[in-house]
């Protein structure tokens, strides 16, 4: 069995780690690192019978992830201190939100940049407040800067000069030029307060954003991690509230993202064994391409189907902007190489 299939079986609880040969671990660890999920796997296999070297490595990973999460939440607190005095409230997105809300997918999850969502009407003031509080622009390229401001769902990335941490300030969850326009006002106004005191998206919106980020915006880089987030959060939300899947359907429809959300649900069933309710539990032939893309890694952690990877990259751009604009954008980017 391939390393990535073994890795997914271990995450899904289908595989017994005790049956792995020593050589198998090389591939599993390599794949998990490539997907930025080694600490996630380490949490999943906490307490399992493991080779001593693997158990020690996993303990390192769990400890490191705990520190990294504390640092990510501190970064969120820094943003709060910069934005609260000017009266701007924000909603935490993605990894930091999962950590703030103490969700099960946060265990060992790597958190990259700080992603926050503000009302579109607050975005300029948010930018000024952050610049005053020590963040600065990462990109100085005028085309990129213009591109972000005119067409994207976020400000150009900023980095804090003292702490060297990035922040992405969103005003919605998909690019302005995307074929789909989610209801950003509803996302912010229906946000809820997490146990950690930060605002996060309400449950169904959180799952919608997770699916949108994975399937409607990106090229499925890091897709296994996003899918794992989606799987665990929908499982836990549904366990806490029997009406969750129905609410998710309603919110997904409202944001125009039913297709992405249903596909995410089917993929989490196919890969991680999620149990889906009737109406969700369908078969769709095109899913096979997504499964192949998600599983396209060899035992050395390399993407092994470059054409498929390229196809999904082109698809992500195709969804993001109309054809004429895409042509102009690629032309500009190509000339600047």
């Amino acid at each position: 069995m391939s390393a990535i299939a073994t890795f997914i079986d271990l995450l899904a609880g289908r595989g017994d780690p005790a049956t792995l040969a020593p050589r198998d671990w090389d591939g599993v660890i390599g794949v998990a690192r490539s997907e930025a999920m080694l600490a996630t796997l380490a949490h999943r296999l906490k307490g399992a019978a493991l080779p001593p070297a693997v158990a020690t490595l996993f303990a390192d990973q769990r400890a490191a992830a705990e520190v990294a999460q504390a640092q990510a939440l501190w970064e969120a607190e820094m943003a709060r201190r910069a934005l609260a005095p000017v009266g701007i409230e924000f909603v935490l997105l993605k990894g930091a939100a999962y950590a703030a809300a103490g969700m099960s997918c946060a265990a060992g999850r790597q958190i990259g940049d700080l992603d926050i969502l503000v009302l579109a009407t607050d975005i300029r003031r948010a930018e000024n407040a952050l610049l005053k509080a020590g963040w600065e622009w990462v990109k100085s390229d005028p085309y990129d800067d213009h591109y972000y401001r005119a067409h994207m769902h976020e400000l150009p990335p900023m980095i804090h000069s003292g702490r060297d941490r990035m922040i992405d300030v969103h005003h919605t969850i998909l690019p302005k030029t995307h074929r789909i326009t989610p209801d950003a006002l509803a996302l912010v106004s229906d946000a809820v307060t997490s146990g950690g005191g930060f605002a996060v998206l309400q449950s169904a919106d959180m799952a919608v954003h997770c699916a949108a980020h994975m399937l409607a915006d990106g090229d499925l880089q890091g897709g296994l991690r996003n899918l794992w987030d989606f799987h665990l959060m929908t499982r836990d939300f549904a366990a806490a509230d029997a009406g969750f899947w129905g609410q998710l359907d309603g919110r997904a429809d409202m944001h125009g993202l039913q297709g992405a959300v249903h596909r995410a649900a089917r993929l989490s069933r196919d890969l991680y064994g999620a149990a889906l309710p009737g109406g969700w539990d369908r078969q769709e032939p095109a899913d096979a391409w997504f499964r192949r893309r998600l599983l396209a890694r060899d035992d050395w952690g390399r993407v092994k189907q470059p054409l498929l990877e390229q196809a999904f990259y082109i698809r992500s751009h195709w969804l993001r902007m109309p054809p004429a604009m895409l042509a102009k954008h690629l032309w500009t980017k190509w000339r600047k190489r």
Partner: protein, 288 residues
């Protein structure tokens, strides 16, 4: 990958894959005497690869990859494949290792106590460690020193020593030629030749040593010793550590303890003999 070798250096088990036989054969030669445990899963994966299939043969150039990839890193010609392998191994440790506080420093040990030397490239920390390691010191490593956050002990990472430029002739004059790797001339870092550590240093590579002396050497100028305060040593070592920030509070505690418990000095020296004399004199003081 086509060619593969497993190497254990200190606590790190590497799996190194390569599109070419050359770099793997060179590593197998340098690390032949290191203990091998082929049943042990790898902590870190290193990949040496051609960006395009034809670049395996046509002007072959070695790209560095693995668990962690630095975007935009320039490839090296295949003739410098061994340097690429060494850089790739260092990179994976620098970016991925979390068990210890990683100091970009050389270290040698005597009687279970460690002398740690930190400095920029060109400070002579590698050369001093190599020369001391040929005397009655145990070479712990010329690139990384690992500090256990829990107990404060230093652990060795005795990879093959990377000798550069003038240091090559100086060390080559004193060691068995069989312990030297091939000369890599004209690399981006100058001429490089690797030195296989003495067998006793490899056998003892898992033995901890208590930090007893911190030195910040600088090559060139008259011989001189300058005592260094805890604060300055602390700041310099945060800059010399690749995972200080990632370790959070544990890193801060480990480094604070290190600079509080270990006397620190800056030293300048005109040549290796003078450098070694300074080291021995300071050690005689510190190790009392």
């Amino acid at each position: 990958m086509r060619h593969c070798v497993r190497i254990a250096v200190g606590p790190v088990q590497f799996r190194i894959g390569s599109d070419w036989a050359g770099p793997v054969a060179a590593l197998e030669h340098l690390y032949a005497a290191y203990p091998r445990d082929d049943a042990r899963p790898a902590d870190a994966t290193v990949r040496l690869f051609a960006a395009r299939p034809w670049r395996r043969w046509l002007r072959p150039s070695v790209h560095i990859g693995g668990d962690f990839v630095v975007p935009g890193a320039l490839p090296l010609p295949l003739s410098m494949g061994l340097l690429a392998a060494e850089m790739a191994m260092n990179l994976q440790v620098a970016l991925g290792w979390r068990r210890h506080l990683l100091l970009h420093a050389s270290a040698v040990a005597r009687d279970g106590r460690a002398l740690i030397m930190s400095g920029e490239s060109g400070s002579g920390k590698s050369t001093l460690a190599a020369l001391l390691g040929e005397g009655d010191w145990r070479l712990m490593g010329d690139e990384f020193t690992l500090v256990d956050p829990a107990g404060g002990d230093a652990f060795a990472f005795p990879r093959a020593v990377s000798l550069k430029n003038e240091a090559i002739a100086e060390v080559a004059a004193r060691v068995d030629p069989a312990r030297l790797g091939p000369l890599l001339a004209g690399t981006p870092k100058g001429d490089i030749r690797h030195l296989i550590p003495r067998a006793d240093a490899v056998v003892a590579m898992h033995a901890p040593a208590r930090p007893a002396l911190l030195l910040f050497p600088r090559f060139g100028g008259a011989a001189g010793i300058e005592p260094m305060g805890e604060g300055e040593a602390f700041v310099r070592l945060t800059e010399a550590s690749t995972n200080y920030v990632a370790l959070g509070e544990a890193g801060f505690a480990a480094l604070t303890r290190l600079v509080r418990e270990t006397p620190a000095f800056g030293i300048t020296y005109p040549d290796s003999a003078a450098g070694i004399a300074l080291v021995e004199a300071l050690w005689a003081e510190a190790a009392r």
